[in-house]
């Protein structure tokens, strides 16, 4: 399941010459200190568990499991000493995560960007302060024009600060496999820019101890102007350019064919991958490995064909000849498995509907047992003291009659892995608190929701592998295919460009809408 494989962090923040990088840096350091190291997972761990036998064990258990299993309230354990049950798997992964160290690579990018922007912010102030400190007495006095420049400088710096905070000071969302080209470009640009300003300053101002202070102030003001323009460039490159849709991405999940179409702008492959994953978590229904295959009862009938025995003494060509003969024989035999599949599907649907009806009735009835206590009722009924409960107790009180129906329904729709009893109780408590109807309570269980609904909010990241034949920093173009792989399924993404639209115009005069009845006259002659 999604929430049980390994984690890592992703940082998708653009970091370049913004002045408040220092704040973010400080905050990052705070964050890393305050949380324990277990919250940052390591990317490189793979879990070597036998996934295949586990699934088979689950599915065959489901087919011949006794329906009254819930009555005896036994605990699911591993089926044999050679396989690992689901609970063991969960425990394993959690142990692994907690033992991995803090990932440093995640913070290199933001830290670098933070330093650079701090440096860039401090530079104008340094340009102003250094002459005052070093050769104050030889400086020409500079009255009103300088003060005007001070004011404009201060406000521009303030605007830089605020806009950096608004645009770039956001928690990172993803780490990309390769360098984010635009971000690197901007960081290099800022670095070169500030370095060249410092070079010029060092050579022309510090060396000869330039007395013209007004020129220095103007120089510092021009630096701040240029920083503002670089921020504009960053805004356009990182935030605005990819807003206009240019491509249509088709995302198909490899295991069950769930697909969606998205419109994106001009992005590189890795950025498009992050974009798709953002939408995957809220648009795609959760991946349920239990609903994948046709029941074995249907498929296995194909295998019991007749065996072909070769009476040849020469056994070298035996295998190929035999297999070919078997395949030919199987093809000629009349295949009725589609029939069985149809009836099995119909039977399954009927069963689900029956269980759903029972569940709905049970929940409705359970909800009638409690009602919200009004403020005045508590005071005005001393003769009939009723036990006043908080939401948790109320939920536990009404959970009992619906528990069996709920468990049977979840097992029929193979959702039992997603909802533990604790989670159902919590959800029930939540619904009671917010005055929800039984139907609103059941909404979560009647249809498989998006993957986000089943995520645990614990700050750990999700590990996805981007598989692509092109370098992942290249831009999207027509016919590109890449896939995002996870441990047990993958998303295949196909890129097609959006069609060019030729919009024509046709003017219709509102007075030109006139109608007549169709003629069908009959005349006697």
């Amino acid at each position: 399941m999604d929430n049980e494989s390994q984690y890592s962090g992703y940082s998708y923040k653009s970091s370049h010459s913004r002045s408040s990088r220092k704040h973010r840096d400080r905050r990052d350091r705070h964050r890393s200190k305050s949380r324990d190291s277990s919250s940052r997972g390591d990317k490189s761990v793979t879990i070597q568990t036998p996934a295949e036998p586990l699934l088979d064990a689950e599915s065959t258990r489901g087919d011949d499991r006794d329906d009254n299993w819930g009555e005896t309230t036994t605990v699911v354990t591993g089926t044999s000493e050679h396989s690992i049950s689901n609970e063991d798997l969960t425990r394993l992964t959690k142990d692994l995560e907690e033992s991995t160290p803090l990932e440093c690579k995640r913070f290199v990018g933001p830290a670098l960007g933070g330093c650079l922007s701090f440096f860039a912010l401090v530079t104008p102030l340094a340009f102003l302060i250094l002459p005052q400190v070093l050769w104050r007495d030889t400086l020409e006095p500079c009255g009103t024009p300088c003060e005007g420049l001070y004011v404009s400088l201060a406000f521009k710096l303030l605007v830089l600060l605020i806009s950096s905070w608004a645009l770039f000071l956001r928690p990172p969302r993803a780490t990309l496999p390769r360098f984010f080209v635009f971000r690197c470009l901007l960081m290099v640009l800022v670095f070169l820019f500030v370095a060249s300003y410092w070079l010029f300053y060092g050579v022309r101002v510090l060396e000869p101890r330039e007395p013209d202070y007004r020129g220095i102030v103007e120089y510092a003001a021009s630096l701040v102007d240029a920083l503002l323009f670089i921020q504009y460039l960053a805004l356009v490159l990182l935030e605005v350019r990819h807003l206009q849709p240019a491509f249509c991405l088709k995302v198909v999940r490899s295991t069950d064919g769930a697909s969606k179409f998205y419109n994106v702008g001009h992005l590189s492959i890795q950025r498009a991958a992050v974009w798709v994953l953002d939408r995957y978590y809220s648009d795609f229904s959760v991946y349920n490995p239990a609903t994948l295959n046709l029941p074995k009862s249907i498929l296995s009938k194909k295998m019991t064909g007749f065996k072909v025995y070769s009476l040849d003494e020469n056994t070298t060509n035996n295998s190929t000849g035999q297999s070919r003969a078997m395949i030919a024989a199987a093809a000629r035999r009349r295949d009725n498995s589609h029939n069985e599949y149809y009836y099995e599907e119909a039977e399954m649907e009927r069963r689900v509907r029956k269980r759903k009806a029972r569940l709905v009735v049970a929940v409705e009835e359970a909800f009638t047992h409690i009602k919200r206590l009004q403020e005045d009722e508590a005071a005005s009924s001393p003769k009939h003291p009723r036990e006043v409960m908080d939401p948790r107790e109320a939920a536990q009180a009404i959970f009992a009659p619906m528990a069996r129906a709920m468990q049977k329904y979840l097992r029929t729709t193979r959702q039992q892995g997603f909802h533990s009893m604790e989670s159902i109780l919590t959800h029930l408590q939540f619904c009671i608190t917010h005055n929800m109807t039984p139907k609103a309570f059941l909404e979560r269980y009647l249809a498989p929701g998006p993957t986000m609904q089943y995520q645990q909010q614990n700050g750990r990241g999700r590990q996805w592998t981007l598989v692509s034949e092109e370098p992942v920093t290249s831009a999207l173009r027509q016919g590109l295919v890449f896939s995002l792989r996870r441990v047990d399924f993958s998303l295949v993404v196909t890129v097609t460009p959006l069609p060019f639209l030729r919009l024509g115009e046709e003017f219709i005069d509102p007075k030109s809408h006139k109608f007549v009845m169709r003629l069908q006259s009959e005349t006697s002659v």
Partner: protein, 148 residues
């Protein structure tokens, strides 16, 4: 009776002569017509091809001159006194039929059963039918209209 636009129309027609009856100061024929190029052909219950905009006989008053002359309901009128009726408006058709100066109208009408009769008789008659034979035997005429 479907036609190919641009090609001459061919149909098996029957010649019917109706004597007008004087009723008051009007000469009447005793039937009603429907259709025309300005009418809605989809509403015509008698036409096979619902795009046919010809003039059809929609009602025959029993005992009237048209009934006596063996005009049937559902007949399509191809010519009236030599005037073509396949491509006329409803009003033009009415005018051609109700000319007060004429007291006889000679119609060329066609109906589905005529074609069947012709094909049956062709089958029965072993010798090849010429135009003259047909004319004498059946009082039918192969009608060709080049208006379209």
């Amino acid at each position: 009776m479907s036609f190919v636009p641009g090609q001459p129309v061919t149909a098996v027609v029957q010649r019917i002569e109706i004597q007008k009856l004087r009723q008051g100061d009007k000469l009447i024929l005793g039937f009603s017509i429907g259709g025309g190029i300005d009418q809605d052909p989809g509403q015509n219950p008698f036409s096979e091809d619902k795009t046919d905009k010809g003039i059809y006989v929609t009602r025959i008053s029993p005992g009237g001159p048209a009934d006596v002359a063996n005009l049937r309901m559902g007949d399509k009128i191809m010519q009236v006194n030599g005037w073509d009726m396949t491509m006329v408006t409803h009003d033009q058709a009415r005018k051609k039929l109700t000319k007060q100066k004429e007291d006889v109208v000679r119609l060329l009408i066609t109906r589905k059963s005529l074609e069947e009769t012709v094909s049956q008789s062709k089958g029965k008659n072993p010798k090849p039918c010429t135009y003259a034979n047909e004319k004498q035997n059946l009082n039918d005429v192969m009608y060709t209209n080049n208006v379209r």
